[in-house]
């Protein structure tokens, strides 16, 4: 599905309604990017995406779930995750139908 992002970029995958909202399945964004800036970066590009998609989605970095910093979870770890060049980030909204 994805090839390596260009130098200085990470890959971001948009699943289900994230794909409909952005009208794409995948793109490359500039790295490094602190995880805490991810939603703001996306909101700037896709106005409304935070409220409609991101706030309800889970996020993975390199195929592993990450807690979003600054969430209401209170379970965020002390060290800030920074998305690095070549990483693969995925936005996974819940799907309900069947």
């Amino acid at each position: 599905m994805t090839s390596r992002p260009p130098n200085g970029h990470f890959t971001i995958l948009y699943f289900a309604s994230a794909g409909s909202f952005t009208t794409k399945n995948v793109e490359a964004l500039p790295a490094p990017l602190p995880l805490s800036k991810l939603f703001a970066t996306l909101e700037e590009r896709y106005q409304g995406i935070k409220e409609n998609v991101l706030d309800n989605s889970l996020v993975t970095v390199n195929l592993s779930y990450v807690d979003m910093p600054g969430g209401e979870d209170g379970e965020t770890s002390d060290e800030e995750i920074v998305i690095q060049e070549g990483d693969e980030v995925a936005i996974i909204p819940p799907v309900s139908s069947g």
């Binding site: 309604s17 952005t22 409220e51 998609v53 993975t60 979870d73 996974i92 799907v95 139908s97 069947g98």
Partner: protein, 475 residues
Amino acid sequence: MQQDIAQQPEAKSVPVLVNNGQDGPNNGTSGVGGSRRLTEEEFDRYSRQMIVPGVGKDGQLRLINSRILIIGAGGLGCPAAQYVAGAGVGTIGIVDGDVVEVSNLHRQVGHVASRIGMKKVDSLITHLRGLNTLPTYVPYGFHIGPQNAAEIISQYDLVMDCTDNPATRYLISDICVLLCKPLVSAASVQKSGQLIVLNCPPTPQGRVDGKYAPCYRCCFKKPPPPSSMLSCGEAGIVGPVVGMMGVAQAGEAIKILVSALHIPSRDFSIPLERNLAQPTLLIYTYELENAVGPYSFRALKMAGRKKNCFACGENSTLTLEGIQSGTPNYEQFCSLPSPTFTLPPDERITASAYHEARSRGEIPNHLLLDTREKEHFSFGSIDGAVNIPFGRLLAKAAAIKREGGAASELLPGEVLGVTEDTPVFVVCRRGLDSQEAVEKLKELGVNNGGKRRIVDIVGGMKAWKDDVDPTFPWV
């Protein structure tokens, strides 16, 4: 055939089996195997799966002594039930209140054309009986809800969520947490599917002293706004995509029962060994655009139970009694916060008023934007309509906002006679996107400070079909 089904226990009179989830599977024998000999029929029927390493006679007996509840007899439930029945799970309960429709048949493989109009549970059980007469099939021909969910779920060892809406998904997960039942959850819409095993091995609510399996709320804390939630009826669904998820769901369920992972651990001083190695979310994406592209399965590592989870976390106040008396309110939880648009009346026109105005020549020169997806547009449209799918319109609008550029770029470029003050009418599928589109166009100044009218057609093409042209091919 129908009579045969009617002899099954009436769902509404099922005995209430109280299980607070602390005492292991309900009667102490269900699902744990036992050591009887297999009958000759069982031996012949199940030999091909029994000889697989890891199954054996013990595994098969565990399947035979187990009770699975499949909630939803649709695109996921049909293939899931088919494999669960084939594998010989002893009791299979199926919950669904719908009847078979012709639009189900491309994916719901347990139903056939001759059973259109029949209750889905009865149709599916007819199909399953044709496959394997040994299991006991229990039909529940109504929808599951806060009133009946605990009573039904308490009688099973494992639950498969094959439903189609967020409110029911949260309800089922909550009940499974409270009753200590493993939940195999799958979902699918359009071109993608998800599968995750939740609450397995089952762990009592509130235990957070180790690494335990997550529940649905640990993964998806809040539901998406309903406006962004697509149903199969609205967004469509590719048959093999949902079929694949249903089959994978059956695979996980069989695996759990064969290995007895569904039995709640009694001794939490030996915590980790019995836990599934890693909670995993399987995602399947099917790309119609790249027909020969790579297959897209992704297995994502999930976190375990969240300490502060509303349902299973340490200070959870969720109870069976609460759920039954309406707390939490699932419908409300899943219908907030919906941006309800109500444009002022002068920015709206009904489908029939628009039609009349056109016929009377009152709006000779105007632009009609149809914001449905291009597939919907391809079945038919109002004469002169120009298709700009809503997603594309929003993306363009965001780009203009971000990078600057003329707002007029939002409108189709080459329509003859369109000037700065040509009125714009916007129509969508049901009348919600079109209102948002009107807002967006105004916000970016397409209305030229009020010189140009931008008008929403109330109720979308659905209203056009209902009130103007009944032959219109609306999906």
